[in-house]
């Protein structure tokens, strides 16, 4: 097991299976089909992201460097939170980007969902964590990976 300390953007605790995107996570491309057509597993629809394309995102600890793409990204993430289709948590190796921050904050302020968000976990975190590992997030931004 390894532990990583990051910065808390949205506080909370959770334990979930990791889903790792090594490249930028395109929120719109990843969510648009799943949200529109009621995919219960919320499978990733971004054909440009070979790491997670077609993999279920619901309830996973989404590990990523940052999000990329359309500025609808925050709105899409907010909607995922509002309808209970958000990841269990979002764990960023880099400082969070403005779109992901918007979505995470909108979800936190305007919905009852729980989606802890921690950023600045470092490249070592992203190098270490593998899809399928168990990730535990503490209130203070400590992330355990095993």
């Amino acid at each position: 097991m390894k532990q990583f300390k990051g910065r808390v953007i949205v506080p909370g605790c959770c334990s979930a299976e990791a889903l790792v995107s090594r490249g930028g996570f395109n929120t719109l491309a990843s969510y648009q089909m799943a949200l529109q057509f009621g995919d219960k597993q919320v499978k990733c629809g971004d054909q440009n992201n070979a790491d997670i394309y077609k993999k279920p995102m619901l309830g996973k600890a989404l590990c990523l460097p940052q999000t990329i793409g359309s500025t609808t990204g925050g709105m899409v993430l907010y909607t995922a939170c509002a309808v209970g289709k958000q990841p269990a948590c979002m764990l960023f190796s880099m400082p969070i980007d403005s779109l992901a921050a918007s979505g995470a904050i909108l979800g936190d302020v305007w919905t009852d969902s729980s989606m802890p968000v921690v950023d600045m976990l470092g490249q070592e975190f992203l190098d270490y964590v593998q899809t399928g590992m168990t990730v535990t997030v503490s209130e203070d931004g400590l992330v355990s990976v095993e």
């Binding site: 953007i9 440009n48 460097p65 940052q66 359309s70 509002a82 921050a101 979505g103």
Partner: protein
């Protein structure tokens, strides 16, 4: 963050619970990026990326109902991204059922909300709001609360305005409050370049391909681009601005670029030169081989990779008047050369309503119509945003459309050849 007494009062609920939530959202947003204060929005108009009433996004419209019910509307008029539907664009019976019964069931509700919140008028729906005919063109140094990745990168880079890559919803909250947290691209430091891109192409690089390559490389950092003035010149004339519109859209969608500087061309690069480059900036060299490598890396996700194209979109982001005129000339010429009267692939050109109105006043409109090409105000991305389109062999010159949909990208010269029947793309 240091709030003024008035801002603190808003946060504490002086204008009600909903406004307090708007303030909390903006404060948390600023805190995430180390903002120390809010700064007033100085642009005349806002711009929102949300133009669609999608059933799946109902929580967004529910929240907007709460804002409106609380008397919270935008303090400035605004434009919005293009509408998602246009009856002139080819669609099957099944697609029409999907669009109207399953997807855009909230469209009428949302457009009513936009009218209440402060959209300019019914012609204010375009992603290229900064075009002269539309009139939402901020001045250099203006502080904006916009969202729409291609518009934000254009406003920052070509116009020298200041705007972060805000998300949809956040941009409206800024326009309601009248201020935004000061961080990132709103600061001098945040506008410095972490990458130097050296363009060493032997021919003028395709705007949307170069933008894609740079976007994928630098992600959200600011690139300082050398060597592009060789192809674009040193003046921001109509041709250069059009190129940068398409280039920027690709940097923003294939990566997440919010600002780029082009040496000897864009306003801050002209004024400040290489002082804009951060110490230790990384270097990315782009030549013709690199562009070909990037293009070859795009996945083709058509079921049949050799399928004959069924539909073509040109105009994501929306075209300019000059682009419409040039494409009309080029298509007419190519059709004549190929011995055809009409295009070989159903094709839609998209442009802002105000540009279409202007275009239709002149002689080009009839010529374009004669070719069989459809002119629309639609958002191609929204049109393609359904599983039925995934089964269609759609081609495009837009790297943004390629990124978000199953559309296949071709450079403009190839698109021209394909739609005029010279060759069928594979």
């Amino acid at each position: 963050m240091r709030l003024t007494p008035e801002q603190q009062a808003l946060l504490d609920g002086s204008r009600g619970e909903v406004m307090a939530k708007v303030m909390k959202t903006l404060v948390m947003y600023g805190d995430a990026f180390g903002a120390e204060k809010m700064v007033p929005i100085t642009s005349r108009y806002g711009h929102t990326v949300i133009s669609f009433g999608l059933k799946a996004m109902k929580p967004v419209y529910d929240m907007y109902d709460r804002l409106i019910a609380a008397g919270l509307v935008s303090g400035q008029e605004f434009t919005a991204d293009p509408r998602p539907l246009d009856k002139n664009v080819p669609s099957s019976l099944l697609e029409n059922i999907v669009f109207k019964k399953f997807m855009y069931t909230e469209q009428a509700r949302y457009e009513k909300q936009l009218a209440e919140l402060g959209i300019i008028d019914s012609k204010g729906y375009t992603c290229t709001c900064y075009q002269d005919q539309v009139g939402n063109k901020p001045a250099k140094g203006d502080i904006l609360s916009w969202a729409e990745s291609s518009a934000v990168v254009y406003a920052n880079s070509v116009l020298g305005a200041r705007c972060n890559r805000n998300s949809g919803m956040i941009e409206l909250m800024g326009s309601i409050a009248g201020f935004v947290p000061e961080f990132g691209l709103l600061t001098d430091e945040g506008r410095k370049a972490g990458w130097v891109v050296e363009v060493r192409c032997e021919k003028r690089p395709e705007a949307q391909l170069l933008g894609s390559a740079i976007g994928m490389k630098v992600m959200e950092e600011v690139p300082y681009i050398k060597g592009l003035d060789k192809w674009l010149g040193t003046g921001l004339d109509e041709e250069a601005c059009t190129y940068l519109k398409d280039f920027g859209a690709a940097t923003a969608s294939n990566g997440s670029v919010g600002l780029y500087h082009v040496e000897n061309l864009t306003p801050e690069a002209v004024e400040q030169g290489e002082t804009l480059i951060k110490e230790g900036a990384k270097v990315y060299v782009v030549d013709d081989a690199e562009l070909e490598r990037v293009r070859a890396s795009y996945p083709v996700i058509w079921k049949n990779a050799d399928a004959k194209p069924e539909l073509c979109f040109v105009g994501c982001p929306h075209m300019t008047l000059r682009q419409l005129q040039d494409w009309t000339d080029n298509v007419s010429r190519a059709l004549r050369a190929n011995g055809r009267g009409k295009i070989a692939v159903p094709t839609v050109f998209t442009a802002p309503p105000a540009v279409i109105e202007e275009f239709e006043k002149g002689p080009y409109a009839a010529r374009l119509k004669d070719t069989g090409i459809i002119l629309s105000y639609i958002c191609p991305l929204m049109y393609m945003n359904n599983p039925l389109c995934k089964k269609k062999a759609v081609i495009t010159s837009s790297n943004k459309l390629r990124t978000y949909t199953s559309a296949r990208y071709y450079p403009e010269a190839d698109i021209l050849n394909i739609i005029t029947g010279k060759e069928v793309g594979k």
